[in-house]
């Protein structure tokens, strides 16, 4: 499909007898943000390194922007920006000098280097510290400098390994904004993370990794349907009545479970909020909260791994 920037088929990585990546398939589409999720050691970073041709594959095929990273790593690396987990820069050099080195490695024409660096540094709001040594930079600033490198490179695909790990909430928020900015400028973004709620807020699609396999793949809503079951979960808080008996017989309600004192969780096969509210009020209960629960990735993740462990 011409719309895929990355196509992975049966990708395999063996470390001895251990299958670090076990014949996975992945498609990353042009202009989307794709999240690789999973516990540490699930094979996310190994997959990323194979996409870049930084690690040998043990089998399967990879196609990045029409190139094979095993045979044409230079072509791939020219077009793909990579932000490694806890990226490092040369501390004794300034931010600008670091980027100049990268620009030289990229063989960017000399006349363009200054302009592209300045533009990239502005896009990550680091232009005021461009001539400061990187040793003075915080973790968040280094990550942003890494994004600036990708912007300067004018990459078509950005691969970010754990971009938000170790950042404070504000820095995380800023970095995610920049990742959205990359998407806006037409870059396909592949990111790995275990910060699930953050990932949920930026990712168009996600793949859940487990022991070298892609366990689940799709949009967050699709995954929720697969793992948590289809249906509308509701949260009801009320006092004065027993919600479980009151709601008996409402069409569409599948389960009602008391979660704590005065709080119930309802799963229905359609939107039953109006009926639930009416029933509670007419039964004389004081309805204090009625919320449609958005499926959260965290829930999907936790539930999936609970079930995977139970199955094992």
């Amino acid at each position: 499909m011409a719309d895929n920037v990355i196509e992975v088929r049966g990708l395999l990585k063996l470390y001895g007898a251990q299958r670090a990546v076990n014949a996975i398939d992945l498609d990353i589409r042009r202009g989307e943000i794709f999240g690789l999720l999973g516990p540490n050691g699930a094979g996310k970073t190994t997959t990323i390194l194979m996409l870049l041709g930084l690690t040998e594959t043990s089998g399967g095929t990879v196609n990045v922007l029409g190139f094979d990273p095993v045979r044409q790593p230079l072509e791939v690396k020219r077009r793909v920006g990579y932000l490694p987990d806890a990226v490092g820069f040369y501390d004794h050099l300034t931010a600008r000098e670091n980027l100049v080195y990268t620009a030289r490695l990229l063989d960017i024409p000399r006349r363009q280097i200054d302009g592209r660096i300045l533009e990239a540094m502005k896009s990550v709001k680091l232009d005021d510290v461009i001539d400061k040594r990187v040793s003075t930079f915080s973790r968040g600033m280094r990550q942003r400098l890494g994004i600036a490198e990708i912007v300067m490179k004018q990459a078509e695909v950005a691969i970010l390994d754990e971009p938000t790990s170790g950042l404070d909430p504000h820095a995380t928020f800023e970095l995610l904004e920049m990742i959205r900015g990359l998407k806006k400028s037409g870059v396909a973004v592949l990111l790995s993370s275990h910060l699930l709620d953050r990932v949920q807020s930026v990712c168009d699609r996600v793949a859940l990794f487990n022991k070298g396999n892609v366990a689940l793949m799709g949009t967050v809503v699709e995954l929720a349907n697969q793992v948590l079951g289809a249906g509308h979960p509701l949260q009801v808080e009320a006092s004065g009545i027993d919600v479980a008996t009151t709601l008996n017989g409402i069409e569409g309600v599948q389960t009602v479970r008391q979660e704590s004192d005065g709080s119930w969780r309802i799963v229905a096969d359609r939107d039953v909020r109006a009926a639930v509210a009416q029933r509670i009020v007419s039964a004389g209960g004081a309805l204090t909260r009625l919320a449609d629960l958005q499926p959260s990735l965290e829930e999907v993740y936790t539930r999936y791994f609970q079930e995977a462990r139970r199955a094992a």
Binding site: L49, L54, V70, P73, P84, L105
Partner: protein, 320 residues
């Protein structure tokens, strides 16, 4: 399955080389190393110049003797000092070449740019070698300048030629040790461990090897020597063992170049003495022929060690 990769392995070699060269030249480490070299080099040169000022012999290679004269006060000649110091400089420049990139977490970022690992390793090696060459050329010019000022006679053409060849040999010798240091920087993730190992090899060759080679020779040599041929065989075996040390190759090459009267680097056979005038200098080209195996040995050693580092580096995982 064999799958060939596309693109030149030297893509990006220029920028890597330039960065390494610039980093070395501006680093505090380089200042320390230069200070080291000047201190260790200055004493033998100063004392030998003192001695040489009293010599009046227009036929002797007086400029070359600045390098080789072992004065009584210091007890070590300039070249012997270099024999000892060049490895230290090369180790200082190379022991953290690759593992520091790894520890600073810059390795995967740099390798995600369109370059092969070949370019990174070779660029670092050439950057280090260029730095070493700059330091040695500077030192050489200082010695030559001091000689001009204090002796008051210009060097003859053949002395300059021999001096320049000596410089080339010294750089090749540095290259061997740079390759050794970089090999350890590829093998060990910890810079301290790799420095320790490189220094260990250095100490081994300078302190332990001469004795070890002697002991090996005794155990390997025939118990009784019946003829001159037996004796010659034992001699050449001993020399062969000693020549496994790069320091031996360097000092033999230096001897041949800077002491033109040197006719052989092994035992002198009667056939080599026939028709020779004792103490008469060899022509320059004959001296070069004499030391050619030593120079080849140094360069071959450099290539072999670098190739080992290269193979290990290609197989290394870049992830933390």
């Amino acid at each position: 399955m064999p799958r060939s990769r596309e693109g030149s392995p030297f893509t990006g070699l220029g920028p890597v080389f330039m960065k390494e060269f610039a980093d070395h030249l501006s680093s505090a480490r380089m200042m320390v190393l230069m200070l080291f070299v000047i201190v260790f080099g200055a004493f033998p040169v100063a004392t030998s110049l003192q001695t040489l000022r009293t010599v009046v012999d227009p036929n002797s290679f007086i400029f070359l003797r600045i390098f080789t004269l072992e004065s009584e006060q210091v007890g070590i000649s300039f070249t012997a000092a270099l024999n000892f110091i060049i490895p230290l400089m090369a180790i200082g420049l190379g022991f953290d070449a690759v593992n520091s990139e790894f520890n600073r977490r810059t390795l995967s970022r740099v390798l995600s740019q369109p370059i092969y690992r070949d370019a990174l390793l070779l660029g670092k090696f050439l950057g280090g070698l260029a730095t070493l060459a700059v330091a040695l050329v500077a030192l050489w010019l200082i010695v030559l300048g001091a000689g001009l000022l204090l002796l008051g006679v210009p060097p003859r053409g053949v002395e300059v030629a021999r001096g320049l060849s000596f410089l080339v040999v010294a750089i090749a010798y540095g290259g061997v040790w740079l390759a050794i240091a970089m090999l350890f920087s590829v093998i060990f993730r910890s810079t301290a461990t790799s420095a320790l190992c490189a220094l260990g090899v250095w100490l081994f060759f300078f302190i332990l090897w001469p004795q070890l080679a002697g002991a090996l020779l005794i155990s390997l040599a025939p118990s009784e020597i019946r003829s001159i041929d037996d004796y010659a065989a034992v001699q050449s075996m001993g020399l062969g063992l000693m020549r496994l040390s790069p320091g031996t190759l360097f000092s033999e090459a230096v001897l041949g170049l800077l002491s033109p009267e040197t006719r052989t680097l092994g035992p002198m056979l009667p056939s080599q003495m026939r028709g020779a005038i004792m103490g008469a200098p060899l022509p320059f080209d004959q001296s070069v022929l004499l030391i050619w195996p030593q120079v080849t040995g140094l360069i071959a050693g450099m290539i072999v060690v670098f190739a080992a580092a290269y193979v290990i580096f290609q197989r290394e995982e870049v992830r933390a």
